[in-house]
Symmetry: C2
Subunit: 258 residues, 2 copies
Amino acid sequence: MEKLSIIKIGGNIIEDENSLNEFLTLFSNLEGKKILVHGGGKRATNIASKLGIESKMINGRRITDLETLEVITMVYGGLVNKNVVAKLQVLQTNAIGLTGADINSIQSDKRPVKEIDFGFVGDVTKVNHIAIDKLIKADFTPVFCAITHDGNGQLLNTNADTITSQVAVGMSEIYETSIYYCFELNGVLQDFSDKESVIKNINSETYKKLLKDGIISDGMLPKLENCFDALKNGVLKVNMGNTSMLTKENDNFTTITI
Amino acid sequence: MEKLSIIKIGGNIIEDENSLNEFLTLFSNLEGKKILVHGGGKRATNIASKLGIESKMINGRRITDLETLEVITMVYGGLVNKNVVAKLQVLQTNAIGLTGADINSIQSDKRPVKEIDFGFVGDVTKVNHIAIDKLIKADFTPVFCAITHDGNGQLLNTNADTITSQVAVGMSEIYETSIYYCFELNGVLQDFSDKESVIKNINSETYKKLLKDGIISDGMLPKLENCFDALKNGVLKVNMGNTSMLTKENDNFTTITI
C-alpha cells in the first residue's frame, strides 16, 4: 500500500505569519502523498467581535449560531484556507482548498440537542475517500478547513481534530495512513512541567497505565481517545508534537500505535 | 469535440436566496460538462462596511486595498462559494469551489499603477486548462469565485466576466466551449426602453452596425468587447440573457458568434 500523511495544524500556527510560513515549507518538503487539515483559531472570534457578533460559550465550548457559522465560513473557508493554498502554490505544492461540501468529501449530522444546543456543529458521518482520492491521484494536495455539510445544503462547523482522524480512517481503505497532529507541545509529556519529558511511544497497553497513573491531562484525554479511535479503524500510526516532527532531524515527539 | 458550458452569474442572483436557488436548479439540470463562475455582489460591501472598512471608489470603480481584499476573500471565496457548493450537492451536482490559487488554475498579474492604483486587482495571464480538466474528467463541477493569484502567494480580486471569458478560452483547447452570461436583462436590447426588444443574433458584422447606430450602451460595450475577444480565441458562442436561457423553453436571448 502506498503511504499517505495527514497533517493537522491548529490556531497557534495559523495565527502567526512566521510560524505558518515555516510550517508550510516543512509540509511542502514532506515526501509522498499528503493532506492538510487546519483549524481557524482566534481570527474567527476577532472578526465576529468586530461584526458585533457575541461569541457564546457554554461550559467553555463555543456555540455556533447562524451568524457565527457565517463568520466561520468566511474565515476558515475563505480567508485562511485560500491564503494557505496560495502560499503552498509558491512552494510548488499543488494545493486545493476544500470544505466537506466540496466534492461531497465529508458529510456530517448536526449535533442533536441534549443538555446543550451547540447550534450549527456537525459530527462526521461519512468520508468520501474515493472522491478525495481522485484529487490525490491527480497530484493535487487537499487542504481541508474545519467545515463539513449535512448533504441538505447546510454547512456545519466541525472539530478539526475529528475531521483529521475521520479522513485518515476513510483514506486508510486505500493508503497506509499516518496522522501528524502538530500542536504547541513537543509531544505527550510524562511531566507537564517539563517540556522535554516527551513520551516517545504509546500503545494501548502503555496508554492504560498512563491513564491509571494520572499522567494524561484533561486537555489531552479527548485527543488521545480520538487517536485510538482512528488506530482501531485502520490508521497505521498517529504522531503528536511540534511542527519540526515533520523533519528527519527531530525524533523527540510522541508516536501512538495500537 | 465534447461540449462544455461556462455559466456566469452576477451579484443580483447571488444576493437573492430565491433567485439563487432557482438558478442553481437550472444549472444542475443543464446537460453536459459545465463550469460556474460567480461574482460577489453587494455582500462584500455590506460586510466591509460593518467591519468599518470604507469602500473606496475612483471613477465608479472599486479600489481593492489589503483590508478590502481580505473581505472579498472571506465573502466570495468562503461565504458565497461554499454555500453555492453545498446547495449544488443537494441537487446532485458534484461541485468543487475554487479560486485561481486552487490547483493553480488561474494566474494573474497585479494591475500596474497608471493614473489609478486599483490595489490588489488581477488581470488574468494564464488559465491552467489541463488542471481544470482533471476535475471535469473526474466528474466534478468547478465553481469559480472572482479571485485569482499571482503565483507569488498573493490573492487578487479579479473581474468575474474576465475570469469567465479567459477560462472559456483556455478550455476551448479541449472542449467546444459556450459561454452563458446571466444578467438582469433578457439580452442585448435593440431599444433599451423595451425589455423585450432582444437582438437574438450578433456577429462581427452586425456588431459593427450596432456600434455605428449607437445601439450598444456604455455598460454593454466592455461586456461585448470581452465576448468578441473570447470568440476570436476559440470560444464557439456567447449567450447573454436572463437565467431562463438555460432552459429549452426560452429562446429569447442574445447569441453572439464571430
